[in-house]
């Protein structure tokens, strides 16, 4: 089949990462939202948000609810702009599309994806999959001396939630994928609430507080010590930062106050004390806000315990971090320390951190669509017109509900080759598993990307 220009859309709940095969290697980042700015008296759709000048009291309409696409009206508005000449200039009938969907996407929602791609935009062909399933196609784990690992465990901490996704021989082991309902949205809202109660009312300032979160917050590697430090002198200690809130009169961005910054009387200062690490701490301790779920380290251990016992060590040795919420400083160090105490003694624990965790999936997807056999994974519009969404259910290999009893209208492939699933409950009592990493000597080192 001749190679078609292919559009890659990593359709995140907060940010869409999109691009074309014949375009730049870096994606366009587009807000996945319809934003109303009261100051500008304008509504911005997706990519138009870049033009927004007044960031106060923005009103967001997000197509995603708790990580799943529910508002197709808003989504179409954003996609229309994205595919238009203003951004990607897609000629859909003569293009192929790769689009990502959330983990465990609902079958009835998956059908609507198919409908939009083929009935509304009329793409020639398309492939739909989850973000993590693309990572084996990329170079995140690549080591010049070794073949890419057959086992990897991805932590995808995004806007809506955090997933732990084990991948065996390039396909996701769905029975061991686990979710924590903590994502960037919840963290920003939590920070908003804390500062509104303690200092300034920021309840309507999601955008500003998200910036504050991204520039000030970190994951504490010693929670007790840091909490005590902040207690000593709330205005002057090793942790506290002063964030100068943006000033819309002079159109100045918000920033962290440096030593030599002179602050005028009109400037509003936000003191970021223990908020700096209490907020992202929720990824590691969801019960701090009353969410009855274990944190990320225990979730990883739980997920690995559901995998075949003899290869568990390989997953401990190939953990990868993707998604915007893994960008907090200290994330990897804290995770490594906690995993070390959860992993069997003779297991190596290695964590690979993407240098650009937000666009990692996009780059992997770009590598995938440039493989010569990519079209073989796609469903074409002709196939869709013939058998509807069944064509997609039949062909897409990534996530679909396994129909145990074989009932239901859909014609389904036999379940994809799963690893030997012995009783998952029993593998909990793990006798010493094999040493991970095929005798790899490297310990926790950051993968260095060359680009």
């Amino acid at each position: 089949m001749k190679s078609l220009p292919t559009v890659v859309v990593d359709n995140g709940a907060a940010t869409i990462k999109a691009g074309l095969t014949d375009g730049d290697s870096e994606p366009r980042l587009v807000a996945n939202a319809v934003v109303r700015s009261r100051g500008d008296k304008t509504t911005y759709f997706g990519h138009e948000f870049e033009r927004c000048r007044d960031y106060s009291s923005l009103h967001f309409r997000l197509p995603f609810e708790k990580g799943y696409l529910v508002d197709w009206d808003a989504q179409k508005a954003v996609w229309d702009g994205l595919f238009s000449a203003e951004v990607l200039s897609v000629n859909a009938p003569e293009s192929s599309l790769l689009i990502t969907e959330p983990y465990f996407n609902l079958p009835n929602v998956q059908d609507v994806y198919d409908q939009f791609v083929f009935e509304e935009y009329e793409f020639h062909s398309y492939y739909r999959c989850t973000p993590a399933s693309l990572i084996p196609r990329g170079d995140m784990f690549t080591d010049p001396f070794l073949a890419p690992p057959e086992c990897m465990l991805l932590v995808d901490a995004g806007f809506s939630f955090t997933h732990v996704v084990p991948i065996l021989n390039g396909s996701i082991v769905w029975s061991a994928v686990k979710r924590i309902d903590v994502g960037g949205k919840l963290l920003t809202n939590h920070l908003k609430e804390l500062t509104s109660f303690r200092q300034w009312n920021m309840m309507d300032e999601t955008y500003i507080m998200n910036n504050v979160k991204e520039s000030c917050c970190f994951i504490s590697t010693n929670y007790n010590r840091d909490l005590e430090t902040c207690r000593l002198d709330p205005k002057k200690n090793a942790i506290v930062q002063e964030y100068i809130l943006p000033d819309f009169a002079t159109n100045r961005e918000g920033r962290i106050r440096r030593q030599d910054d002179i602050v005028s009387d009109g400037d509003q200062i936000l003191f970021m004390n223990n908020e700096r690490f209490v907020v992202p701490e929720i990824i590691f301790r969801p019960d701090d806000i009353g969410l009855q779920q274990v944190g990320l380290p225990a979730t990883i251990a739980h997920s690995i315990s559901l995998l075949p016992e003899d290869i568990q060590g390989l997953f401990w040795a190939n953990i990868g971090l993707i998604g915007g919420s893994t960008k907090f400083p200290g994330f990897r160090e804290r995770l490594a320390a906690e995993l070390r105490s959860l992993a069997p003694v003779d297991c190596e624990v290695a964590i690979y951190q993407s240098q650009e965790p937000i666009t990692e999936c996009y780059r992997s997807a770009l590598a995938f669509v440039q493989e010569p056999d990519f079209q073989e994974y796609c469903v074409t519009r002709a196939e869709y017109l013939e058998s509807g969404s069944n064509a997609c259910r039949r062909k897409f290999k990534d996530w679909k509900l396994v129909d145990e009893k074989g009932k239901g209208a859909a014609v389904r492939e036999p379940a994809k080759p799963k690893p030997r699933t012995e009783d998952p409950e029993e593998s909990d009592a793990s006798p010493p598993p094999k040493r991970g990493g095929r005798g790899r000597t490297r310990t926790t080192s950051t993968s260095t990307r060359k680009r």
Binding site: D73, N108, N189, D287
Partner: protein, 172 residues
């Protein structure tokens, strides 16, 4: 004599039985708080999103009736201006927004066997240890709990802030 004895005994009772708060209320309050943390906007629900202002005062009243309006229709990026008619499926998806819990109900994933992976079964384990208590005012360790509403606080200072601000509002 009697009231003198009565008072201390009541006080100890309050502190030993720990809380006069129904644990169900606390659970409900936590759930409501977690729902709040998933909101996209603080004020008005996001469905009340209108474009009235930049439509140049288009009558939004009639639009809200039977003939629903979509925001995506307003945009026309097609340079040649021709507008193609969307299929029934697309119009249904655009006009009738369903929230996630409705979609989950309709998907039927609740009827799957409990070992089949799905959104409902993928959630991680509940914590084994009891939660650590953090001051609801300043974030430091919360060594004490409010008798009325069970929120933790760390010292007298935070207690007074708590009593003045959070206590009543949160408990009902």
């Amino acid at each position: 004599m009697a009231p003198k004895r009565g008072r201390p005994s009541r006080q100890t009772k309050a502190s030993t039985s720990q809380l006069a708060v129904d644990p169900e209320i606390v659970v409900k309050r936590t759930r409501r708080h977690l729902e709040e943390l998933e909101r996209s906007n603080y004020s008005e629900p996001s469905t009340a999103f209108t474009l009235a202002e930049d439509d140049g005062g288009e009558p939004s009243k009639s639009a809200r009736g039977r003939a629903r309006q979509t925001i995506s229709d307003k945009r026309n990026y097609d340079s040649n201006g021709k507008k193609k008619k969307s299929t029934m499926n697309i119009r249904t998806a655009l006009l009738y927004r369903k929230n996630l819990s409705t979609l989950i109900d309709e998907s039927g994933i609740a009827n799957l066997p409990s070992n089949a992976p799905s959104y409902l079964t993928a959630v991680t384990l509940p914590p084994r240890e009891p939660p650590r208590l953090l001051c609801s005012v300043c974030g430091y360790w919360g060594r004490y709990k409010c008798k009325k509403c069970a929120l933790p606080y760390c010292d007298l200072n935070c207690q007074s802030v708590h009593d003045e601000t959070r206590c009543e509002r949160r408990v009902v």
